[in-house]
Each structure stands twice: as C-alpha cells, then as structure tokens.
C-alpha cells in the first residue's frame, strides 16, 4: 500500500518518524516541519524506491505556484497512483 511505502520512506530516507502517525491529512510542511528541499529529496527517494522516473519536478513547480505552499500526504498518494 502506497501510504505504508511513504511511511517507510519518510522514516528511512528523510529521518521523519512522527509520534502522530502519518495520515492522508498530514501536511508536509505545517505538520511534519519539513522544507521544500526535503520534497526534492523525497522525490528522488520515491524514484529510487519504485525504480522509475516520476514527474516530480512538475509537481514541485506546481507546489511553487500555490498560495499555501503545502501539500497533504493524500495528494502525494494520488500523485503516485496516477504515475505508477
């Protein structure tokens, strides 16, 4: 399941293992305290994990255009579902 994959990647790739479990509503920046540079590294970790190129640059550029520069884990799951 993608959400379980993400929890493992957050823990092992980004050293993020919050007390509150990561849910689809968890926000990348506001809740996990991460920065956009972590999103760049997450993109690489995901490509490595799934063994394929993902349009992560595009997703980051889209994030840059948002008023509230944040994304939920649910959005990330949807992105992966679309592209895997």
């Amino acid at each position: 399941m993608i959400l379980d994959d993400l929890r493992a990647i957050f823990r092992d790739g980004l050293n993020v293992d919050p007390i509150e479990p990561i849910t689809p509503e968890t926000r990348f920046f506001a809740d996990l305290g991460l920065a956009s540079i972590d999103a760049v590294v997450l993109g690489e970790e995901l490509q490595k994990h799934y063994g394929r190129k993902l349009p992560f640059s595009e997703m980051l550029a889209e994030l840059g255009e948002r008023e509230e520069r944040d994304m939920t884990i649910g959005e990330l799951v949807a992105f992966l579902q679309q592209n895997l």
Binding site: F29, S36, S57, A61, G64, E65, R69
Partner: protein, 284 residues
C-alpha cells in the same frame, strides 16, 4: 541524492539537461529547492546543463562552524566546478548567491562566462541603500516581534542578531515563532544559526566597490520592480562595463518566488542570447 566532496566539505547538488553549463546559486537561509519551485532548473535544462547546489550551511550540504564570507562560498563554488568538470559556467545567483557569483567572477574570471545577478545587496555598496524602506523586512520584523524576537530597524541584514535571539527562545516561544513567521525547516535555520554565517555574510571579504566594477563578463542586473536595492541595480549598470539592467514587474526582493514565470523568462532570454561558448573554448 547526488553529493560530492569539494573544498573539504560535502555538497548536495542537482543536475539536469545538456549543453553549455549554467550554475544556480540560492540565497542565505534558502536552498536549491527554489530552482525547482520556480521551474528554473527544468526550463534551463532544455538548452543547458543546469547545476544547482546547496551552499555550505544550507539544505543537505555540510555546515562547518566557520567560513561563510562570499569569498569562502566562491571558493566552494570553484572547487565544485572542478569536481563536476565544469570548465566555465554562466552563473545565476539570487540575493547573497549573486554576491557569491560576483566574487567568483572576480577571483576566477576565466571560469565565468556570464553573470545574472538577481537582486543582490553588496556589503561594500551598503551606503547606496536606505533599508528602512524595505517592506519585506518590516513585515518580518513585526511577525518576529509578536513571537518574542526583537529586531531593530537597521539590523535587517544582521543575521547574527536574528540567529542569536532565535537560539535562545524557550520551547513555547519557539513554536510561536515558527507559526508566526512560517519558517519551514526551522531546524536548518537553527543549524545555520550556530555558525559564523550571520557575521561573515556582512563582510566585504575583498569584494570592494573597485573589484565589483572590474567584472567584465556579460552581466544582467535583474531586480524586482519594487526591490529595496534599486540603487545597487543602477550602480551596477553604470559601473560594470558589460552590465544590462532589467526589472521584473510586480516583484520585490524575491522574484523567483514572487514572479517565477517572468523571472525564468528573463533568465532564459539573457542566457540564450549570449554568444555560443563552444567556439571560444576551442581557440583557447
């Protein structure tokens, strides 16, 4: 994530595309993600080999305790060019990243093909600006104050004062501060606060007005229409032999964030109009 040793430190970098080299340099307290969020890296990768890296103390690069003047950063950059086998590059720097780019052009002109200076403020040209007018700083000051960090009007550039106070906040105030100013990745700011970055970035470190005026590579002084540093912009255009000026409509100090589309278009136009570098390379 791609990392490499240069100048004794480990640097995180990202590369995309093929062609003449362009290197992107972010500003203080930032990191290379700005070039992703603004779509700069992807756009340049269509015609260039674009390289972005995290400055020392920033992002996923090492954070030594000392060595944060523009000269130190310029030496890092040149060492990184060596490791990545980049002989000459067009440098695009934003804010303090542009000071680093200019410093590299002064100490190693043969390595620098052209410069885009996006909204820099130079310690040696401080007399040109009246910074009390800088709205961004005034807003930040107000938000910081509500969260218990006192910053004076004229210490805007003084990261030392800022870092020092943030380091001494208790847990509750730290949380309030983070919420108030919305600083993502506060831990990285705290890591930087324990270095000499704040004090070092105020130093000229040899980049005086004369050496800036001798930068003779093609140069673009790219400033936000409402930048607090427009006197510096005018000074660069008047004093550098090959410097053009351009303003980004609607932007203040952070054009890559405030007007990403216009910023990227201006960067591309300038870089793509330059004389091809390959021919000159084979002659030398």
């Amino acid at each position: 994530m791609p990392k490499t040793k240069a100048n004794g430190l480990t640097f995180h970098y990202q590369q995309a595309g093929d062609g003449p080299d362009v290197v992107l340099i972010h500003g203080l307290t930032g990191d290379l993600s700005i070039w992703f969020l603004s779509r700069t890296l992807a756009a340049l990768a269509e015609n260039f080999r674009a390289t972005a890296y995290d400055l020392r103390g920033h992002g996923y690069s090492d954070a030594p305790e000392t060595g944060y003047t523009s000269l130190d950063h310029a030496r890092d950059l040149l060492a990184l060019l060596d490791v990545l086998k980049i002989r000459r590059a067009r440098l695009v720097g934003h804010s303090f990243g542009a000071v680093v780019a200019a410093h590299a052009a002064v100490i190693a002109p043969e390595r620098v093909e052209a410069l885009i200076l996006s909204d820099p403020y130079f310690p040696s040209l401080r007399h040109l600006e009246d910074l009390s007018r800088w709205g961004h700083w005034q807003n930040f000051r107000k938000e910081a104050e509500e969260a218990g960090v006192q910053l004076s009007v004229d210490t805007w550039y003084d990261l030392t004062t800022f870092f020092d106070q943030v380091l001494h906040l208790d847990d509750q105030r730290m949380l309030a501060f983070r919420r108030a100013v919305g600083l993502p990745g506060l831990n990285r700011v705290l890591r930087l606060a324990q270095t000499t970055c704040g004090a070092d970035s105020k130093l000229e470190a040899g980049l005086d007005a004369n050496s800036i005026a001798q930068i003779s590579v093609p140069c673009l002084a790219l400033y936000g229409e409402h930048s607090p540093f427009l006197s510096t912009a005018d000074h660069l255009v008047s004093n550098l032999p090959h410097c053009r000026g351009r303003r980004i409509p609607g932007a203040q100090h952070r054009a890559p964030e405030e007007a990403a589309g216009a910023f990227v278009a201006a960067v591309r136009e300038f870089l793509e109009d330059l004389e091809p570098v390959a021919q000159r390379d084979t002659c030398s």
